[in-house]
Structures are given as structure tokens and as C-alpha cells.
Homo-oligomer: 86 residues x 2
């Protein structure tokens, strides 16, 4: 019915941005303490990061998404990122 | 050398918390506009959420992690969560 729509499939990318190891994560520490205070046991560590889901037009490459991470989504001095395309 | 350490393997859980569909995501919209302003094209939508990585003691179950999500990590009125154990 709508050939343009059938042809141009959506592309999804999921970007994870986490603080690098060794960088203090006060948000994660706060979550760890809160879980302990609520009675949850056996929690040795918590790190909190961001996940960004992008709906992309067909033809966008993983390199494009990496460029977005380098320039905007992650602060590469203190954060690392990973890109999953699906 | 340290049998206790060899035996008690760490367990990792990764929790994704995203705003439910239909809930306005101003953070994601801000990212989408910023990427557009920087010259990136073909971005149809952006949703931003949280990722929480938990280091857990052996014996913690996925049900325990779901309980943590229900009680603290996610606001289930407006957010959905998913748990991956590894």
C-alpha cells in the first residue's frame, strides 16, 4: 500500500554511556546505599550510566553513531560508550 | 591459593530503565535537537533512559533484582525496566 514505507526500514541504535573505571560514581554509590538500607543484601557495587535509543533513517552507519557519541553523547574524558545497531 | 574467591563467582546484572511509550521525554528531545543542530541527519527519534550495573553476590536471583527495580530503581508509573543477568 505504501511502498516508500515498506522499503525504508527503520534502523535502531542503542548507545550505552558509562563512567570509566576509576571515575567516582556518586549516583551509583547512592543507589547502593539505598538498596542496603532497604534490606537488600549481597550488593557489592553499583554503577549508573545512560542509555540512548536512536531511531535512525536507513543508511546511517555505525560510524555516524560513533561520531555522535564523540561529539555530543559522551564526555570521552571520563565516560566510555558502546554502540549496538539493530 | 584463595579457594573461597575462586568458588564465589561474581554475578552481574544490568538493568535498563526507560520512560514508557507515550510519556514525554524532554531529555531525548533535547538530544535530538542538538544532534540536528550539529548537522547530523536522519534522526527520527531519541529516547534517553538509565542503565544500572549491579555487582551481586552469588545466589542473588533475577526475582531479587526485579524487586529492587519495583521498589527503588524504576518509577513503574511512568517507567518500564528490563533485567539482564550475566
Amino acid at each position: 500500500m505504501r511502498p516508500g514505507r515498506t522499503e525504508g526500514r527503520d534502523m535502531k541504535a542503542r548507545v550505552h554511556v558509562m563512567l570509566k573505571n576509576g571515575v567516582l560514581d556518586p549516583q551509583g554509590e547512592a543507589v547502593r546505599h539505598a538498596l542496603g538500607a532497604m534490606g537488600f543484601e549481597g550488593i557489592n557495587g553499583v554503577r549508573q550510566g545512560k542509555v540512548i535509543e536512536l531511531d535512525l533513517a536507513e543508511g546511517t552507519t555505525e560510524a555516524d553513531v560513533s561520531a555522535m557519541c564523540e561529539k555530543l553523547l559522551a564526555n570521552t574524558v571520563i565516560e566510555s560508550y558502546s554502540v549496538e545497531i539493530s
